[in-house]
Symmetry: D2
Subunit: 300 residues, 4 copies
């Protein structure tokens, strides 16, 4: 048999997972949702706190904070709005970092990881963000902290590659580098899969729960979390694809088919993406890298 | 209203267009189909001749020859089978060129065009093939024909880019270059859209009818044919994507929905592609470029 | 014999050519040099007008205007100074265009050409600038001039590639596209060769004399000028390399060798470039593309 | 003062280091040189064994084996000779691995590291070789050794990036990954600096002594050796650049200047490379990756 009944709809967005249970923001016990609109800049920020095991079980995501930035201009050519998106991202990111890592006198060391395959356009968001970051760890190591005075953090970065190219689990590489270089906090960047095409390239998810199995465009990931890495993990993701199976499932359902749906196995390695994904990824990765640079205190 | 009834299923493969009318190879008047299997190398070659206006109207393609090479190993890592695919392609291509261009003493000048967007992985097949071709026109111009003695043709090549990047119709650029450099024949390379996922990255279509509106991953193409260009045009294409709307239409139909299907406008700019399309494009473009090099007499 | 006496030192910078004759700005008849310093932004603009045949013969450059922008920050990471460089470039470019093309009611159509090999880092400046330009010709063609109201020009662009890849002279491709799409003016971008390492990546040359044989990193260029193209040609260039032979010649001379110098033929295809040329090209191409976008009225 | 007297000529090739002391292959005590010519394939293999501390001190390289493959066709378009180069490399590599690692029943795990900056053409050799390797460690981890039966080794690979992009010493990243994934042997790939332009892109150096400070195009390297990594290290390198200072020094000397030579500091970050380095790197990296694949038993 070369087909299967689809039992679980795939999405990496916690907000979509919640909305597939209930669109009502106050209906789920153990989940608190607050919303903040910046109409001038067309930025909508939805903060979802999964407060306890009950909330976690219902929406199928770990306890923690999930910030969903709805930014319709993210994929559009920059008409001045991207700077505002970068600044809003910087603010949200700084909030989550401050909550996750309580330092005293020394500024923290942050390792930024660009997940994904740099050779596959829709999966290259992480590697492309890295290439525009302001990196300072080596400067501090060789010349001292005074060289980065006023910065929010000391930064290092790595693009670990994907398992088919390295033969190693991505989380093996990351945890090895953490053990050796001892950062205080991890930021992980990744291209995500959404359930709805409407979410593609117009949503940024920031969470302090890290990355979980099955996330991302590839399927070779193990969890990258505080538990597995030993330090706080903030994940930043943008959905760039929809799973082909998920798309078909939803489309068939929307056409009121009642019977169980058969989806061919041949869709297993297929995804749906935008026709001008190359230009979109270029713009989005720049805007996100600028957000991180601003958060780190390297730009204004 | 943000949805539409899909009236036409999209495919760039003439064989899929024919099969959607009738799977029976002898059933359509004015269309002749012959098949040739190379079991040893797992290559299946289906030649479809659209003989007259009747055949053309029924399957919705111009009169001409459509060669469909079914090559399941094309996207696989090379275990020795790619050389055989290159050779088979070279043979088919040489046949079509010989039919299209009747020369006498001088070897023909052939311009090869790599259509598509080099920055979008699934559309980059054409540009990537070009970068591996053996180019000789400038050698002949500066040093004479004796430098390419024994070659089948003198070659030049161009990657015109896509309209969003150039502001020009691709066919404007090509016809301008033809007028200036006076090649005898045009070979056009393009990534195609298939109807069936099963066809992706495992089919090569070679045709003497050129490229027609609506073909290719982008939608900014005008016809590139003998009529518009003034010289014979051979098109080589490999399907790398399926239109999202087509996929949904077929999936819903397959689940026996009877009512007219509503497909949201948001799918208009979306396509379905393989998760490891980057590595696949790299392999396929090399194999096809080698096929062209062999055809031109630069390799064996 | 595998060596030669170097008779001519190679530079694409007109200012270097002049200075090798005389460092005194008022000493050469038929050449007028004026200088303008913007100390705040660390930009020094030297305008050299070659007024007549006498001046042209002495410094070995055609009659016309050569603007040399000395911008030490050009290759540095952007600390805010790049916006000022873009604006200064926009102003100079607009001045030269206004002098070269006298229009009446309709805004001009400008074709921008990115010369060079996109696969060779130090030669990729032109292609990389193109990929960040705001292109509008197709919008105007399909939707009318009102879509670009307020713009300074309508833009199209092409990356013709290099002769080894296309088999065609670059100027053949450009003149073909001009004939077909009828722009009013040409802007040509190119990576240049300087004589002095001190000039690398810190100088922008803008000239209304176009591109002349022997210029650029490659050596396969014919002239791209108003005479050969039929429309005014503005060339923008940045030196990214020094010819290996030139470097050796100067170094030996500086060490007071009196005899004629023998420079081995093996240096003929060699050039000197900066170790971090990749990051430098990325920054410079962005700053220059922004300068062109500002000049065209698409940004402020 | 902005210049210095050059006291040491830079080369990463042990054979050039030896030849600068004595061209006579039997003249240096503690160094044994043997040569093997394959005239048919135009491959010349020079094996230099630095036998003891005396030899090491004289030529300034650690005790160990240095194999220099002189392969004039390496940078040329493939006319069939590249397969022979790959096979010869595979043979030499297998010899060094067999000497360095004495296993019993289990096949060894080998980690291949692609040093250098993938964004700088002449430094991208290592990263480009990696992208064409056959990688099997993850297959063995998930499905067992029987999946790679007949292979010479189990392979994993990493492209660590350069310090300016990661903020980390390259050797920190490598030793971290070694500690975590426990390979038995390391193969390190790197673009090298030669003293002579004649050596560029036509020499492969294979050594069991690893990588030493100051090697490579960049200057941010610490030693990667059996001592620092804890496992045998085989380094494969191809010279793609000549240091600008070294070039000038040699050129001035060749013109019989007697006085001490002053070389300006501005040359410190400059190197000399070939004009078509992009196409050369592409060819060479493919040929070398095929050599490694053959050595590992994945091809013939």
């Amino acid at each position: 048999m070369d087909s299967k009944s689809l039992t679980r709809v795939r999405t990496d967005l916690a907000l979509e997972a919640k909305n597939s249970i209930s669109e009502d923001n106050s209906a789920i016990k153990g989940v608190r949702v607050t919303e903040e609109k910046d109409c001038k800049n067309n930025i909508n920020i939805i903060r979802m706190d999964v407060l306890n095991r009950n909330g976690a079980q219902i929406i199928g995501r770990p306890v923690g904070t999930y910030i969903t930035m709805e930014v319709p201009n993210l994929a559009q050519p920059d008409n001045g709005s991207h700077r505002e998106i970068s600044k809003a991202l910087a603010g949200q990111l700084r909030g989550l970092i401050t909550d996750a890592y309580h330092w005293d006198t020394r500024i923290p060391k942050i390792l930024v990881v660009g997940l994904g395959n740099r050779d596959a356009t829709s999966d290259a968001l992480g590697p492309k963000v890295i290439s525009n970051l302001f990196i300072t760890r080596h400067i501090v190591e060789y010349m001292g902290y005074e060289e980065v005075e006023g910065a929010f953090a000391v930064t290092s970065a790595i693009v670990p590659g994907v398992m088919a190219q390295t033969g190693m689990d991505t989380c093996e590489i990351i945890s090895a580098v953490i053990k050796k270089t001892k950062p205080d906090l991890l930021i992980v960047l990744d291209a995500l899969a959404a359930r709805s095409i409407r979410r593609l390239n117009s949503t940024i998810q920031i969470t302090d729960t890290g990355i979980h199995p099955g996330s991302g465009v590839g399927n070779d990931r193990k969890a990258i979390t505080k538990k597995t890495m030993g330090i706080p993990v903030i994940a930043i993701g943008v959905p760039t694809v929809v799973d082909a199976s998920t798309l078909i499932y939803d489309s068939v359902k929307r056409n009121n088919v009642e019977e169980p749906i058969q989806i061919s196995e041949e869709f297993a390695n297929m995804y749906v993406t935008s026709k001008d994904i190359d230009a979109i990824i270029k713009r989005m990765s720049f805007t996100i890298s600028e957000g991180i640079n601003i958060c780190m205190g390297f730009e204004e």
